[in-house]
Symmetry: C2
Subunit: 383 residues, 2 copies
């Protein structure tokens, strides 16, 4: 149930001393082949961290032999020195593994605007390279945690091949400063092009549809690596389906562990005129602070849902909108529906359905409520 | 210092029993002329409340004799009955004043999705009509409060004429569910067209540039009325300048009293390539929950400012961005600048300057921090 579930991968997680807490903070996942296909999706934030710039370039050829990840520092907004540090990390990792630095992906997460303590980091990389095992996926998942309370791993097993993965953070592909980092591995025999297509399609409907607080990190990276070690050749469709299963599992875990959240909110927009319309509406609700506060207060405040929908350019008639919260249709035809006191918001999981009556598309986005604990965690994060 | 500062206006505020608190909840402002020019700017939310639909229509002819405002209920998402109730309120007000219902503007604020108690409301309108005075502006300002802690009034006095105003709520022309309602009066001799132009120009750089929590209400209304009672004819420019002064004063008061806020944050985007660029950047910072939590925690977290700027499509080079917080340039050329511990965030007012190095435009947007109290107020608002 991790990045080392598929054959051909070894991983490790060690404590390098980057985190004040003394918890593990350097992870390594190595692809022992025979294939070294790799693909990635990165943050769209124009202020991108040095490791994103490096990794984007290193993956142009569709190959990666390893990924080195550190928590305890994002290496973002660190200028030329920051990029040199990422480069040095890749070089050091490559040397320890006997591969080319250009085939080492680098991921970092933590505070922005501070240089990494390089001697600690390189010592950690050396230690990680020395402790790689085919059972190291769990240790790697633990070493990439920041504000996460639990490590997040997943796997999808098929006939003779599998997909594994790990994740940290909370948000969408553009999440909270608690950067989202994801590594997905597979031992399927595939091509770099199919791996890239599978990852993009899987990401589009999983990590792109979770939105904890609407904020976009400088470091988000979702990396996929294929070893071919199973000897089983799969179609693009089979691969996509399995990668999607792992990504969906990890995405749901991210929402379930979002900073300070008390509720996980599934927003389902029904009968949208297009997928784009449905997504715009779902996101507008997911990013509405007033609605998110109401759910924290166990208040089925459908007026705030309608007010959010009204800010979009989606096709809908205000007088036809229906809203159900946990199965109770509190808003019918744009007005008062069933008795709102019937809505039970005690459970962590909340389902909000908005029927636009405008077409056939349905889109689901997951978010969290806005709580005292969210404010506390994010006002105290760096101080 | 209120809507009755200019000559030609009477106002009143009474308790009709719409609010559980027993505080004043119905306000009336009447223009006794000789002119009855009026103009308004409304929410752009497509889910608009019945009073907005009514008032938009009633102002097509550029004339209003009176505005009746109630707190204690927004009359939004209330269907055909809600619109009939707004119509009945206008009719009742018109009868009490001896004017045409089509010249009565209606504003409502409070919870969405509940019908107004019409017998209480009409009794309140009768009482308000009977207690109109030329000194009633303060009472009217008190009667439109919802989560406001203080009434908000302002005036700008010129040679022989003046502009007055009142406001409630917190946000921008698209604010929190705590709808923004504003009434601006003047005794200048002007035209309906000049009044409309002055209001739009003043609003664009005042109410449109405050953004407490990025949420857009269904009821926001900014109404201007001109009586001509001063006998002083003014140019469009003179009028715009004075209306802008009153709107800026009221806007600053709204931010200063935003729900649960501990800091008022002035975001100044400098050297933008265009006004639109500057506005997009300023808004992206104003709506970034992580940044707003950091300010609450007195943490000069400039990384979150850069992460917000990076989500925009404005013209800038990441490596040229400068950020100053309360005069300390904590980020220089996209990287670490002066020592962040030099930043003092004890005072309520915070100034964040972002230099894009991309042009000559400067845009200022005001927002608030995101606090425990914001979450508390907005999770407990309806329960």
């Amino acid at each position: 149930m991790s990045t080392t579930t598929p054959a051909g991968f070894r991983a490790a997680g060690v404590t390098a001393g980057l985190k004040a807490s003394g918890r593990p903070d350097v992870a390594l996942v190595v692809n022992d082949g025979p294939d070294r296909h790799a693909a990635a999706v990165f943050t769209t934030n124009r202020v991108e961290a040095a490791p994103v710039t490096w990794s984007r370039q290193s993956l142009v050829d569709g190959r990666a032999d390893a990924v080195v990840l550190n928590s305890g520092g994002a290496n973002a907004c660190t200028g030329a020195q920051g990029f040199q540090d990422t480069h040095a990390t890749a070089e050091h990792t490559a040397e320890a593994l006997g591969v080319s630095a250009g085939d080492v992906v680098v991921c970092s997460t933590g505070l922005i605007g501070e240089l990494l303590p390089m001697s600690k980091l390189t010592a950690g990389v050396t230690a990680a390279a020395g402790s790689l095992t085919a059972e190291g996926g769990a240790a790697a998942a633990e070493a990439i945690m920041t504000t996460d309370t639990v490590p997040k791993t997943a796997a999808a097993t098929r006939d003779g091949w599998s997909v594994g993965g790990m994740a940290k953070g909370a948000g969408m592909l553009a999440p909270a400063l608690a950067t989202m980092l994801v590594v997905v591995t597979t031992d399927a025999v595939t091509s770099a092009a199919d791996l890239d297509a599978a990852l993009r399609e899987a990401t589009r409907t999983t990590f792109d549809r979770i939105d904890s607080d609407g904020c976009m990190s400088t470091n988000d990276t979702v990396l996929a690596m294929a070893s071919g070690a199973s000897g089983t050749t799969v179609s693009r469709e089979e691969l996509t389906e399995a990668v999607r299963e792992v990504c969906a599992d990890l995405a749901r875990q991210l929402i379930g562990d979002a900073e300070g959240a008390h509720h996980d909110i599934e927003i389902v927009v029904q009968r949208a005129a297009s997928e784009a319309d449905g997504l715009e509406v779902a996101r507008s609700i997911a990013r509405n602070n007033l609605f998110k506060c109401a759910i924290f207060g166990k208040d089925p405040n459908w007026g705030r849902v309608l007010a959010a929908v009204g800010t979009t350019s989606a096709v809908f008639e205000p007088a036809r909108l229906d809203v159900s919260i946990n199965g109770v249709q509190v808003c019918r035809a744009g007005g008062v529906g069933e008795d709102r006191t019937l809505v039970d918001l005690e459970a962590r999981e909340v389902r909000v359905e908005v029927d636009l009556h405008a077409g056939d598309d349905e889109v689901t986005v997951w978010t969290n409520d806005l709580t005292h604990d969210y404010v506390h965690e994010n006002s105290a994060y760096s101080t």
